[in-house]
């Protein structure tokens, strides 16, 4: 049992491969989280426009990308775009897919956050002479983000976990590297180690979230 799942020799051999994978996973996360946040911010700001010409298409857009499994979106871009002459590679496809998919989720969260800031705040800020942009950037958004911080963090956790999808389009991130090592050694130890790395990386965030969620429900 130990020899199968926790084989020390194989761990030693696979370690550099897995470490390179971890580096790519971190790099990928550091790219897609800000991209998703940017997409979400754009959506949340557009949702401020009350015109039905903006609101209905926006709602359709968000529902569309929430209904689409992220892996389907990714495969769609990866397998479909080359047919119209666009070769974006794994990284480009992952970046676009995450921008669209996680942007929709971040957008919903930020919109709820902005809605939770009382209108008096923006009226007061405007009456002191701040412009609409300044009001949004310095008065509304900081309060909005604080109000929905647990949701933002929980979504970020999901996004980091989603980077494992990159393995399907041959991005050399942690899971991909682990599977390479596993097929070379005919031993599942590298996958077990990759799982341990994911756990070590994300456990603190999970613990923190679990506390925040419990506190929020008790206060509510």
């Amino acid at each position: 049992m130990l020899d199968t799942f926790f084989n020390i020799e194989i761990m030693k051999a696979a370690w550099p491969i897995l470490l390179a994978g971890l580096g790519n996973t971190l790099l990928l996360s550091a790219t897609v989280v800000p991209l998703g946040l940017l997409g979400g911010l754009i959506l949340a700001l557009l949702a401020r426009l009350r015109s039905p010409w903006v609101r209905w298409p926006l709602m359709a857009w968000v529902d569309f990308f929430r209904a689409f499994p992220p892996l389907v979106l990714l495969i769609f871009l990866y397998a479909g775009l080359p047919f119209i002459g666009l070769e974006l590679g794994g990284f480009g496809c992952v970046a676009i897919a995450f921008f669209l998919n996680t942007g929709a989720y971040y957008g919903e969260i930020l919109r709820a956050g902005i809605d939770s800031v009382p209108t008096g705040q923006s009226e007061a800020a405007r009456s002191t002479g701040l412009s609409a942009t300044q009001t949004m950037a310095w008065v509304i958004l900081p309060q909005a983000v604080r109000n929905v911080l647990p949701d933002l963090m929980s979504n970020t956790l999901e996004v980091v976990k989603l980077t494992a999808l990159g393995s399907v389009v041959a991005m050399p991130e942690l899971l991909f590297q682990a599977r390479q090592a596993q097929s070379l050694t005919y031993n599942p130890t590298p996958i077990v180690v990759a799982a341990l790395i994911y756990f070590a990386l994300l456990w603190p965030l999970v613990r923190l979230l679990s506390r925040l969620e419990n506190r929020a429900l008790r206060a509510g």
Binding site: D63, F64, V72, L175, V192, A195, L217
Partner: protein, 226 residues
């Protein structure tokens, strides 16, 4: 052929679509089967764990919290790969379908246990004390007084989490489950044409748009009023 016609011929090729739509339809059936199994087993086991946690046996609870944390921290695809490629080494060889089902059900179990438990602890203590003093036993109080109030609070978060995990059925394509994405991908490589992907995308929208819209309605309908 104009470029528009070429575009249509590439992405909406009627001949290719006519040939492969039965495959996609079969994939839809597999996706539905997988999703229903995951939702039922995942939520039922999550509820059982939350009730067990209410019994307050310390070592059991610590173990439960740890397992739930592990399942929340690992990407679902990693769990699927671990089951599908790892277990055969100890002579248990689950199929792709069983691996995907088990992995997603475990993840949903972990998340729903957390949600149910938060709901149970959010019911005011007075409710417990009042019903115990009327002569109800601990189990009766938990099942007939606390749980019904807790369940109502848990509906919005549980709905959105369940929808998110159900969409994970697409991950099954990685371990050769013939669900929508798997069927569409193999049709693309057989026909050298991306039209089956369009069909697959349409199949997902047909299945999940109603779910997302219904979820939105449920979240507003049962929103926790402060």
């Amino acid at each position: 052929m104009s470029s528009w016609e070429r575009f249509l011929d590439t992405f909406f090729n009627a001949r290719v679509m006519a040939k492969y739509w039965p495959d996609i339809l079969y994939g839809m059936w597999v996706t539905i089967e997988l999703a229903v199994l995951v939702v039922i087993t995942g939520i039922a086991s999550g509820l059982l764990l939350a009730l067990l946690r209410a019994a307050g046996i310390r070592p059991v609870n610590w173990l439960m919290i740890f397992v739930v944390d592990v399942l929340r921290a690992l990407p679902p695809l990693v769990i699927i790969v671990l089951i599908y490629f790892g277990l055969p080494s100890v002579d248990i060889a689950p199929s792709g379908f069983v691996s995907t089902w088990a992995a997603l059900a475990l993840v949903l179990m972990a998340f729903s246990e957390e949600i149910f438990w938060s709901g149970i602890t959010a019911v005011p203590r007075g409710q417990w004390e009042a019903s115990r003093s009327t002569g109800l036993s601990f189990t009766q109080t938990l099942l007939f007084v606390v749980l019904p109030q807790a369940l109502r609070m848990t509906i919005p978060p549980l709905t959105s989490r369940t929808i998110a995990i159900t969409k994970g059925t697409a991950l099954g394509s990685v371990v050769a489950v013939s669900e929508i994405l798997g069927q569409a991908s193999s049709a693309v490589s057989n026909s050298y044409n991306p039209s089956p992907l369009m069909l697959g995308a349409a199949a997902y929208l047909v299945l999940f748009i109603p779910v997302v819209v219904a979820g939105r309605w449920v979240e507003t309908r049962f929103a926790w009023k402060k």
